[in-house]
Amino acid sequence: MAEALHQGKGTRRNGSLLEYVVIGVTVAAIILFSIFVNGFATLGNLRVVASNSAALMILSCGMGVVVISRGLDLSLIAAMVAGATTFGVLISAGYSGPLAIGLTLITAIIVGAVNGILIAYLEISAMLATLASAMVFTGFFRFFVLRGEYLLMLPKTNPAVMLFSTDLLPGLATPVALMIITFVVSWLLLRYTTPGRITYAIGDNFQAARLTGLSVRPTTVMIYVFAALTALLAGLITSSASGAVDFRTVTNGSLLFEVILVVVLGGIPLRGGRGGMRNILVGVALIAVLRNGMTLFDFSSQTQDVLKGLVLVVAIVTDNYFNPRDTETDTVGDL
């Protein structure tokens, strides 16, 4: 028993080794960029890094919770654009800010609940359910709601739009503030609420959680609703900042993979049940620093992709080296 406990501890330490590796790489990158890149180590640039990674961080919080529950949400970006679309269309149609936000919230909850119901009640595996629902959301909102590929120039006179694109406090942009709030709320929810604890239980061992009598199905729906809400928030920030809602964000697919990258690099295993918001912070830090530094280097986005891919490979192999899969208990379903 004692030995088992000890082993358990050991495994956990190994499990977060990736996290330390990533922190190390991030610090190294920061030092390198500070030395070699003109304009990297400035307060202004820090602010840019923070506001550029706000949406990524918020999305990663949603994805992180889903992955902890051993799920995957491939419809996250579709939900993000869906929320932004609804909001943009309502604002353009002249609805007042609060009303538009209220209706958009309801839309996001429905979108999340559709995922949750497909997964929890219809028992389609998360990856496949969200693969299909991403198509449904994209098609539905592009065809029925927006009736076009993009929506430009949200009327800036609307206070609701203003809110997302201005500074909340001097020096603190609203996106950054929202990012911090989302991060803290996600952490509190995961850590201190019953559904948060059930999320870990589901991710660790679904059957056991279910047999213990935990309300796994309602919680699963809640998890996906939460993810949809983070997606909505990210969508509002992005569309307010760039002044456009664009379905290219979905079809390009790169943002989705970036979010998965953040979650995994941060050290939340896709096998679920492990990790927390701290890991999201680590993952976002690495990606944000890399992206900023490489942009300053004027690396083309393709070169950036290649480098990001290589970083991911190195991280996977390192993780595998420190924390190899147990070949005796390895099951096929673990991807």
Partner: protein, 328 residues
């Protein structure tokens, strides 16, 4: 559920047919008997963007007058699907095939195949390597050159500015981006004071353009001009400039179809100068060209019939007029 879906599909399909029938009905009143009932198929890269919607609107007006039909096959930004749709369109044997090329080469073989089967192919906005009966669209090299020359004038020697330029193509491999970049760099090469500090593709996404620009501005607060290859994503860059409160110092260039949103952006000082190829006018040109083709028109020497879209330069100033832009 499945059957309901089918029903929706059918309803939608019936609706479409009805619309087409209605359009036909209106047209037959004054139809030229020669070409009424002829078939035109339009294969755009994607519907739902102002460019293609604007074209289609004008083409449909022409179709209504003469009583020919226009079918749309929406590739939804998937060029792989586009070549399939084109193959099917060719086998449907229309009289005129309107193709919106995504690259100069991708559909070349199918254009050749269609022409060899007697289908007249009208290429829109981007000319393929493969010549066909007709072309209507902008001259990207000219746009690239003109914008670059304007940048040189604003930022080059004697302007007292840094000469730093950031280029934001859609995709570095997209044909229009390639042509515009080539032309622009040719101009810049003659002016060593112009420095291209960034040439990063936005994947046509406003948000990516915004992030790239925000970062670039950090490093180069003295940036002189931004050359965005499409007005839609360049608006993201413009927003970043505005956020940095540099809208009076950085000139944001863009090019696009020139719909209402462009003028709005110019008025809001998100964009400064937009070379518009006027999608609305192009739509009319395309409609006219289809009429001509259906009536048997062809270049005398069997080369291509071409209509190059005239440029409208949209910028604030005495020449500015909201009517430079068109509305859907």
């Amino acid at each position: 559920m499945l059957s309901r879906m089918k029903k929706t599909m059918l309803t939608a399909a019936t609706g479409m047919t009805l619309c087409a029938a209605l359009a036909l009905g209106v047209g037959t009143a004054q139809a030229d008997p020669n070409i009424s009932g002829k078939k035109v198929i339009f294969v755009p890269i994607s519907m739902g963007i102002s460019l293609t919607e604007g074209w289609l609107r004008r083409m449909k007006e022409h179709a209504a007058i003469y009583g020919y039909s226009i079918d749309v096959r929406d590739a939804a930004f998937n060029t792989g699907a586009m070549s399939e749709l084109l193959a099917k369109a060719i086998s449907d044997k229309p009289d005129v095939l309107v193709v919106h090329n995504p690259t100069v080469q991708l559909l070349a073989r199918q254009i050749k195949q269609a022409e060899s089967q007697g289908i007249k192919v009208l290429q829109l906005n981007l000319q393929s390597n493969q010549p066909s009966t007709a072309f209507v669209g902008a001259n990207w090299t000219r746009i690239g050159t003109e914008i670059a020359e304007d940048i040189v004038k604003e930022c080059g020697a004697g302007s007292g500015k840094s000469g730093k330029v950031s280029i934001i193509p859609g995709q570095l491999t997209a044909a229009d981006s390639v042509m515009m970049n080539e032309a622009a760099f040719k101009v810049f090469a003659k002016h060593p004071e112009i420095k291209v500090v960034s040439n990063q593709a936005s994947d046509w996404e406003p948000e990516k353009a915004r992030q790239i620009t925000a970062t670039v501005l950090q490093q180069n607060p003295d940036l002189c001009a931004i050359f965005g290859h499409w007005d839609v994503h360049t608006m993201g860059a413009g927003k970043a400039v505005k956020e940095a409160h540099l809208e009076d110092k950085v000139i944001v260039y863009a090019t696009g179809g020139g719909d209402d949103a462009t003028c709005q952006a110019v008025e809001d000082k998100i964009l400064d100068r937009v070379w518009s190829y006027d999608a609305d006018g192009q739509g009319r040109d395309a409609g006219t060209m289809i009429d001509v083709l259906l009536q048997g028109g062809a270049a005398a020497d069997h080369t291509m019939l071409k209509i190059e879209s005239p440029m409208k330069i949209i910028k604030l100033g005495p020449t500015y007029n909201r009517n430079l832009c068109w509305k859907m």
